[in-house]
Structure formats: C-alpha cells, structure tokens
C-alpha cells in the first residue's frame, strides 16, 4: 500500500537538546497510525515538524512520494495536512461556520458570504456524521462538539491527512466513543489519520499500526493487532510497567479527617455538597468515586479553605478547621494536590524552583526577617526535582516550560515533602502517561504506608479501584455508599455513581439470578 506521508530519519534540536533523534514514521493511505510516547518524548515536536512549525535539522519528509519542504503551516495545509489541536483554537463568540472559514473567508463582492460556507459545512458534517450545527455559537456547544468543529475546519480546507493531538484528553467517555466512530468514518472516506496519544486503550481500540518514540528516539513501528497494552507500555517507558498497583493491606488507625453534615454552595449559591459525611483514618487511602460535577470540587475546596462552608463541620486530628484560611489549614497538616494544576497548583511564569517553595516560601530557612533566601530554596527545589524525577533544565526554568507530567510531579513532590497528615489528591494523574501514573500511585501508597491519610478524588474507575483501600461513592453532593474495592466491581460502582440506590442494584442482581 502506498505511503501518503513518510518522515524519514527526522532530527530536531533545540540548542544542545535533541528533541527528535532519527525518527521515522510512515503513514499508509487509509490507516489510523498511532504515535505513542510519554509526556515529553518528542511526539508534539515531530508533529510540529510535519505541520511546518519547526524546521528539522536532518532527515526528509515525503508526501505521496514527493520530497517536500514544509516551511510553514500554510504549506502543510496545501499539501492536505490538517491538525486537530489538543487545545482548541476557536473564537468563543463566533458561530461554528465563522470559525471554520476564519482565515479563508469566501467573499462575494467584498462581503463575506457566510451562507454558502454554512451550506458546505453542513454537507461535510453530514458526510462524516459529525452532527454539528453550522450556526451554533462556540460558547454554547459542548467540548466534544467543539472538537468536531476543529475536525471540520481541517476537512473544509481539504485535508486528506489528519493529525489528532491527544484528542481524548478533555472528553467524556461517551464523547470518546463518538470520536472513535468519527475517526473510522473518516477512514472509510479515504482519509488517513495520525493519532498522538499516550492512552494505550485507545490505541488498541482504534489504530492499525503504532509508532513508538521514547526520549526523542524512534523505537519502532508495530502492527496493533500483533501487540498488546503490556508490550506497548514497555516499549514506551523502556521497562516493564505494572498496571495493577502493588500494595499490601492497609493498617488504618486513628481518624485524621472527619467531615460532618457538610453543606457547600457553588458560586451561584446552589448547594453542591448536601450534608456530606466522611472520615479518613491514618494509614488508609480513601477514594472518592463519582461522575464529574457531583460536588467533588466544592468538597475539596471547602476542606482546604478555598471555598466557604455553609454549614457542617470539618475536623483534622480532632481540631475544628471549618472555615479557616487556607494557610492555617495547610499548616494544620493538609497537603493538597489540586485538581487544576495550572489554575491552583502553579504560578506558571515563576521558575519551577519558586513553585516548589510555594507552600514554604515564608518559613525559615526560606525566609528570614522578611527577606528571601533563594539559595536554600534552590537547593531544596533541586532535591525535590531529583527525588521526584521532575525532568527540567533546572530549577530556574519557568514552570510553563515543563510538560504536564513533570509539572504534576513537581506539585506532588512539593506537597508530599511537607509530610502532611492528610494528603488530598484531586485527579492527580489527569492527562499523564502510564509511567508517570505508576510513579504517582506509588507515592500515594508510600504515604499511606508511612501512616499518613490520603484522600483521592478521581473520575477514573480504574484508578479508584486500584489505589484506594475504601471507596466512597459521591452522588449529588452526598456520600451514598462506602465500598471495599476487593468486594465490588466497576458495574456496581458505575450504577451507584449514576444515582441508583443500593437496594435497586441488589434487586437487579436478584433478577438476573432468577432469569
């Protein structure tokens, strides 16, 4: 079968740093070709080379057999290469059609003719089963639909080869299923796809072949049907990866966190946490399982002092901390790995070293008599960078320049290093690759084994079931049940998370037995 794109022995350097070293990727017509690698392995660099954003130092690119020089994204567009970016590039106030034609507006006598464009958008949408309303405004449509608008944008510009950059990062499971159907439909219509991802499940589900890169080096290309997630993970990380987190039994002792009848409202004053009760003991990991939006964010923010408590009680080590300022709560012994690392976790324009000192900058020896001691901060930061395997050029590099996984490792290092009695980890592995996930899970279990309490909030059932010692299911602002992970299954959890009562589930089980 012919190759529509061949990237042969590509080399890309940034100063002394080699981001891509001798990587070869060959895309056949009509295939879905996955590009697999850890965060920071060089996937995005390689794709930016293909898309004309970077110029390679070595190697050549062939499109349909012709050697080409892709000097900028316009050249890529003209060659029929389209990119669906991870972070959507859409104007919120514009309609779908206006966004799609942005940059190549069809004009009639100097006026933009949106009508004809809208018609074309609708045709394309129907052809590929995208189900997009050309007149809807971006701010009114779901994330999944926004992504389909990005896909339409490339199709409208005549793309034959589509690059999807981490397309499932911000999608719900339902939307992921739809996206996979859309990708299949695109292939049926003769398009070819490069899928950048580090999620093995998606690769197994949808791709035909996989090219693996590790630390900037091309490891090789394998046929998906002839491999399995375990092998892929080892290829990607360079060693054997444990999917099932290994841990001994928990030895919970005294209660650390005790929440009684907690009520918290959101910014509109609507109750999101409705009389919630929960406790976490030393030496155990309690996982909160639930669908996004059932009060998890409000619960964490209330415990950590970032949000006002309407009523109820939060006790830490028997001491009432309800409604205290964040600093007082932090000092009382809580560590918090926040849900949104860019909003709460990091000051992105600060050096990573300053960020590692974000909770301790004002304490001795980091600060004395009102003056900072940046030397000790730097020293401590470098210790944490080494201990938590944060890959960075040094503690002076801005946090913004680090990959997501390394940013997260820095936050986790910062929080665990203070050795808090209670560690709250909110979506600690969101968007990370298997290697980093494994690392973070081990750190959480280590905390538990050191006799600390851990409260884990996650939307991923696998994570909750693997890591927790007890699972608290949250639904509509209340803990509806507490389960033993060894005695439950995804189905039971899923039903509880969806608001089914336990008795209803039991009846169902009974029914199926009778039948």
């Amino acid at each position: 079968m012919e190759h529509v794109i061949e990237m042969l022995n590509i080399r890309k350097e940034f100063g002394n740093f080699v981001a891509n070293d001798n990587i070869t990727l060959q895309l056949k017509k009509g295939e879905i070709h996955a590009l697999l690698g850890e965060n920071g392995a060089g996937k995005s660099t390689l794709m930016n080379v293909l898309f004309g954003l970077y110029q390679p130092e070595g190697g050549e690119i062939r499109v349909r057999g012709q050697v080409v020089k892709i000097t900028d994204p316009n050249v890529a567009n003209n060659l029929g290469i389209g990119m669906v970016h991870q972070h959507f590039m859409l104007v919120e106030d514009f309609t779908v059609t206006e966004n799609i034609i942005l940059g190549s507006e069809p004009t009639k006598a100097g006026m933009i003719s949106v009508k004809s464009a809208a018609k074309k958008v609708l045709e394309l949408s129907e052809l590929y089963g995208l189900d997009v309303d050309p007149h809807a405004r971006i701010e009114d449509i779901s994330v999944g639909m926004q992504q389909r608008v990005e896909i339409l944008k490339t199709l409208y510009r005549g793309a034959e080869i589509l690059i999807f950059d981490e397309p499932t990062a911000s999608l719900t499971p339902q939307e992921i299923t739809e996206l996979i159907q859309i990708m299949r439909r695109l292939i049926e219509e003769g398009k070819s796809i490069i899928l950048i991802t580090h999620k093995l499940k998606e690769i197994m589900d949808v791709s035909d072949r996989v090219t693996v890169i590790r630390k900037g080096q091309g490891i090789g290309t394998v046929i998906t049907a002839e491999t399995n997630p375990n092998d892929l993970a080892s290829l990607m990380v360079g060693r054997q990866v444990e999917f099932k987190t290994v841990k001994g039994p928990a030895n919970p002792t005294v209660e650390v966190l005790d929440i009684k009848d907690l009520v918290v409202t959101d910014f509109r004053g609507i109750e999101k946490v409705k009389g919630l009760n929960l406790n976490v003991r030393k030496g155990e990991i309690v996982g909160i399982a639930g669908i996004d939006g059932n009060g998890q964010s409000e619960l964490i923010e209330a415990i950590t002092g970032l949000r006002k408590v309407k009523s109820g009680l939060v006790k830490l080590n028997g001491q009432d901390i309800t409604g205290n300022r964040p600093r007082k709560i932090t000092e009382a012994g809580i560590g918090h790995i926040p849900q949104d690392r860019h909003k709460h976790g990091l000051v992105l324009d600060f050096p990573i070293g300053h960020n590692i000192a974000l909770q301790t900058y004002y304490t001795s020896p980091n600060s004395k008599n009102g003056f900072m001691n940046y030397a000790t901060i730097s020293k401590k930061a470098n210790e944490i960078i080494a201990k938590y395997d944060v890959r960075t050029q040094g503690d002076h590099e801005p946090a913004r320049a680090l990959s997501g996984g390394n940013q997260q490792k820095a936050i986790i290092g910062r929080e665990i290093d203070r050795n808090p009695d209670l560690l709250i980890a909110a979506l600690p592995t969101r968007g990370l690759d298997v290697g980093a996930i494994e690392f973070i899970h081990q750190r959480l279990i280590e905390q538990r084994d050191n006799g600390k309490a851990v409260l884990l909030i996650s939307f991923e059932l696998d994570e909750v079931m693997n890591v927790s010692d007890r699972i608290a299911v949250i639904y509509d602002g209340q803990i509806v049940d507490i389960l033993d992970p060894l005695q439950t299954n995804e189905q039971e959890l899923g039903l509880l998370m969806a608001g089914q009562s336990k008795t209803a589930i039991k009846m169902k089980k009974g029914d199926s037995k009778h039948v």
């Binding site: 964040p326 709460h344 976790g345 000051v347 600060f350 900058y361 009102g370 900072m372």
Partner: protein, 348 residues
Amino acid sequence: MSNRIINLLVPVVSVILGLLVGAVVMLVSGYDPIEGYAALWDGIFGDAYTIGETIRQITPYILAGLAVAFAFRTGLFNIGVEGQLIVGWFAAAYVGIAVDLPKIIHLPLAILAAAAAGALWGFIPGLLKARFKVHEVIVTIMMNYVALHTVNALIRTVSDGGDNTGKIHPSASLRSDFLENMTDFSRLHYGIIIALAMVLVMWLILEKTTKGFELKSVGLNHHASEYAGMNVNKNIILAMSISGAFAGLGGAMEALGTFEFISVKGGFTGIGFDGIAVALLGANTPLGVIFGAVLFGSLKYGATNMPNAAQIPEEIVSIIIAIIIFFVASGYVIRLFIERLSKKKEAK
C-alpha cells in the same frame, strides 16, 4: 549573532531609525534636520546648565516609571500615577510651608508626606479592587481628576484665594548650592539621589523580600497564590499603595526640588502618563526604568531648545520626539528584523 549583541543593537538601531524618520519630517516641513538635531543635542548636553536641567527633568520620570512598573509587576495597571504625583506634590509643598523645623527632620517629613499622600491615592483603588472587584484602571483614571481639582481647591484654601502656595522653607528644600554651582545655576537638586535609591528599593522589594515574592505571585496567578495561603486582597491593596508612594515621591521632586511651591494647575502635568511609557520602555524592570526615564527626560527637555535655536515650531518638535520614542518602543519589530538578517547571513 549572540543575544547580548542583539540586546545592545536593538535600542541603538531603534534610536537611529527614529532620528532618520524625524529628519524626514523636518525636511518635509521645510526645516533643516541637521540644525534641528544640533539644537536638540545642545539642549541636552550643550553645557553644564543643560546637563543639570536634563537630569532634573529625568528625576520625576524615574519615580513615575517605577510606580507604573511596580504595579505592572504585581499584575495591576496603575493609570493613576498622575493623580498620585499631584497629591504628593501638594503634600510635600504643604509640609514644606506649614511647619518650620530643623532640616534633618523637616526634609524627611516633607518627603514622607508626599509618599504617604501618593500611597493613599493608590490605596483607594486597591481597596475598591480587592473589596468590590472594581477595575483599577477605571478608578485610577477617575482619581486623577479628583486629585487635580481637589489639589487646586486646597491650594486656593491655603493661599487665601491665591493660585500659588508660595515658597517652602529652605529647611524642606532639596536644592543644593553645591549642585547649582557645579551646573551653572541649573535647578538640579538632590532628588536624583532619592530617585536612584528608589530604583534600588523597588529591586530589593521585588527580588529579595518575602513580601515581593507574594506580590509577584499574586500578580501572576491569584488562584495559586490563594491556594498557597497568601492573602490576595491584602497584597493587591499593598501593591497599589507602594506604587502610589513611588508616584507621590515623584511629586515631592517638584515640590521640594524643581519649583519649591505648587500652583493651581489648568491640566495634568503629563509626567504620570509619560511614566506608563517610561515603564514599558524599560520592560518594567527597575534598571530599565532608568533607561526609559533618561530617554524621555532628555528628549523632553532637550526639545525645548529646538524652537529657540533652530526655529522649528513646537508642534513639529513634539512629532519628532514622539517618532523617536515610537521607534524605541517598537524594539520588538527591530529585534525581529535584526534576527532575520543575521539568520540569512548564517544560511549563506
């Protein structure tokens, strides 16, 4: 080409380009650019007197620039430097006139009064932003008008309906016989030392103190700062107050140094607004502010010589000065241009 050379080359090329375009403007409007620029040069560096006056002009620009830059570094837009400078000017002049004390107490007291008045004028927008989320740009702009007309009314009150407070006591003056003799009796005063000391103070606060760490953090990401236990509202108020204090000191330079009085003003002094450009030219760093203030102050003062010595109308002079500053401010474009050029050379 190394980064360091480019960093040096950019401002030089910018100034040269600005001068060239300014020359074209003079040519087109029928004036001799060589004569014009000679007059500008003489106006800045001509003799000891003009050098003294140029430095005097630079002094308040440094402080106004620091005020804007400090707010900017802490995530705030202080457009109210003009108003803070005016209240500082009045406060210093009032203390200079109303009391008579030994110099060692009187002068610092007058300077502190200016800083305090400026800080108060910054505190109010800071408080409103922290408490009620009112945008500081709107409040500071309005505070400028409040300052202008309140100060005018106060001047009339203290001078019994006059339009001038009268001269401050010598014990509150920044003037110095030594500096005046050295510069052929210009109005150069000790304020430049205060201004340069403040440059150091701003650097110390931002880069060395724990408060500075907080202020910068709040400016860059107030969510993360709150998460880290900082009091975001307090820091906003403090940042605006410190910024206002710098501006107030700028006013003290005029009250205790240049003029030694304050008179009723028909309009804004412009120093506060120019401070925005000074800060941006200096990339909001303390050292950069000195560079911006030197450029602004020299051109502003030197240009006053162009109508006299080269018969170029003031309007044309203003256009030329604006063009030069415009080119310096477009340093980014020039940097891009130089980088392209050197890349092409390397490719060859």
